[in-house]
């Protein structure tokens, strides 16, 4: 069963609908004590970094996630701010992140973005493979994915980058360490590509 973590941030229902249509067993989980029932977890996220971290802490989900993801090696997919919280921290906030993937979240440099609008980076953008991964099987890289964000994840080590995209320079649009994966884009709002990616995550 895929557990979609509902802690008050992110589009939980859209992900659940996609899995339902694929006939893949999934549940929306709100209580930390329910998380261990899932074989795989999805951590969505929308909004500000600190607000998201605070919700994870207050709900007790952060503590349970550390146990499941680090000690029990449960695979997890973070989406958007759900990816950003996997690093050490963010320029957007003061709270430390989960610290699973070495790197820090930075704001796009407006001066490098030549045309208006500058921020947020919003809309459909292409992706480029840095390394092959089953997550992107059957995905049309040139059609790409839907993004909406002003901050991006800067990896300390290149080997953690799965794909890059370009907005005033290249940035990591999907990252991973072992069983921990994150996408800066929104697969749940990216039509066929998003469906393929979520399906691939379920069968990894």
């Amino acid at each position: 069963m895929i557990g979609i973590i509902d802690y008050g941030s992110g589009n939980v229902q859209a992900i659940a609908t996609i899995y339902k249509n694929l006939n893949i067993d999934c549940q929306v989980l709100t209580r930390p004590e329910d998380l261990n029932r899932a074989e795989k977890l999805i951590l969505p996220g929308v909004g500000a970094f600190d607000a998201t971290m605070q919700q994870l802490i207050d709900s007790g989900i952060k503590k349970e996630l550390q146990n499941l993801v680090i000690n029990k090696k449960v695979p997890i997919l973070g989406i958007c701010v759900g990816l950003q919280v996997m690093g050490f921290g963010s320029e957007e906030g003061k709270l430390p992140g989960l610290g699973w993937i070495p790197g820090k979240v930075k704001k796009f440099n407006k001066n490098k973005i030549e045309t208006k609008p500058k921020l947020p980076h919003m809309g459909w953008n292409t992706i480029k493979d840095v390394q092959n991964h089953g997550l992107f099987e059957g995905v049309d890289h040139d059609f790409g994915f839907y993004f909406v964000h002003s901050f991006y994840f800067e990896c300390d080590y290149k080997e953690n980058i799965l794909t890059t995209s370009n907005y005033g320079g290249e940035f990591a649009s999907a990252i991973y360490v072992d069983h921990i994966i994150g996408t800066q884009f929104h697969p749940e709002k990216s039509h066929g590509n998003g469906v393929s990616l979520l399906k691939n995550f379920a069968s990894l």
């Binding site: 500000a48 609008p117 947020p120």
Partner: protein, 253 residues
């Protein structure tokens, strides 16, 4: 490369889907859920859904209807109509809507944009500005209540305020060009683009994919939204929900 967004805009009136001309003569064009299903198949970039009755009837958003639409959408969805409180905005986002659009309520109380942004994130706050050319001296006025009430706000003062708050996007909706299908009001959009750096979406006037191509080549990255173009076909305006497929879109960028 980041692509410009090509966005169908659907108007809800008396629970059905309608299309207006210059904000008048709403013509019934079908069922909203059916349209969303077709737009899913066409893989549209985004969708805007506006309930044009809510503010006029002085009522809040119809959450049940929004949920039905959001459950069906496989693309980012922006909903507008009747939102006047932070609680309503939060509820709508909770239904799986990416962005909420404010029009009258933002003009009435601009601080509402920030209050909502603080909770759901500024990137999810869209402001729709309905504008009409002044009759005599040039320039534009802002209107509310489906083009019937003129706002006291000056268009460019208002845009500067919204830029200061940092709302996620503004939709510039030309009442004069609505449903006319003769092209966008490019000078209007140029003057807005010059004054701010936030994302802009143009609405009102698209009659062909050529009109959309013209906008994208002029503005590089812009939201181009249209109603009539995606719900009518031919000069007799037969109802047909359509949208260019992946191959047809490539030459537009």
């Amino acid at each position: 490369m980041l692509r410009s967004r090509i966005i169908p805009c659907l108007l809800i009136h008396k629970k059905g889907l309608v299309k207006t001309v210059k904000f008048k003569e709403p013509k019934y064009v079908g069922d909203p859920i059916n349209a969303v299903k077709i737009f899913n198949e066409k893989e549209v970039d985004e969708l805007i859904v506006l309930d044009i009755d809510a503010t006029k009837e002085n009522r809040g958003p119809n959450l049940k209807m929004i949920k039905n639409i959001a459950d069906e959408c496989r693309m980012p969805l922006c909903y507008g109509g009747g939102i006047t409180t932070v609680e309503q905005a939060v509820k709508i986002i909770g239904l799986g809507v990416e962005k909420i659009a404010l029009s009258y309520s933002a003009l009435n109380d601009i601080e509402l944009c920030q209050q909502i942004g603080d909770i759901i994130g500024n990137q999810s706050v869209v402001v729709v500005v309905d504008v009409r050319k002044k009759k005599l001296f040039g320039g534009y006025d802002i209107y509310t209540h489906n083009g019937t009430i003129k706002s006291k706000w000056n268009l460019f003062d208002y845009i500067a305020e919204l830029e200061g708050i940092g709302v996620g996007e503004i939709v510039i909706n030309s009442i004069d060009n609505d449903g006319v299908m003769q092209g966008y009001d490019i000078p209007l959009l140029e003057s807005v683009r010059e004054k701010c750096s936030m994302p802009i979406t143009a609405l009102g006037g698209a009659g062909s994919l050529g009109d959309i191509k013209k906008m994208i080549s002029k503005f590089k990255t812009i939201g181009v939204s249209a109603g009539s173009l995606f719900v009518f076909k031919g000069k007799y305006r037969a109802v047909l929900i359509s949208y260019p497929n992946r191959q047809e879109r490539l030459p537009l960028y």
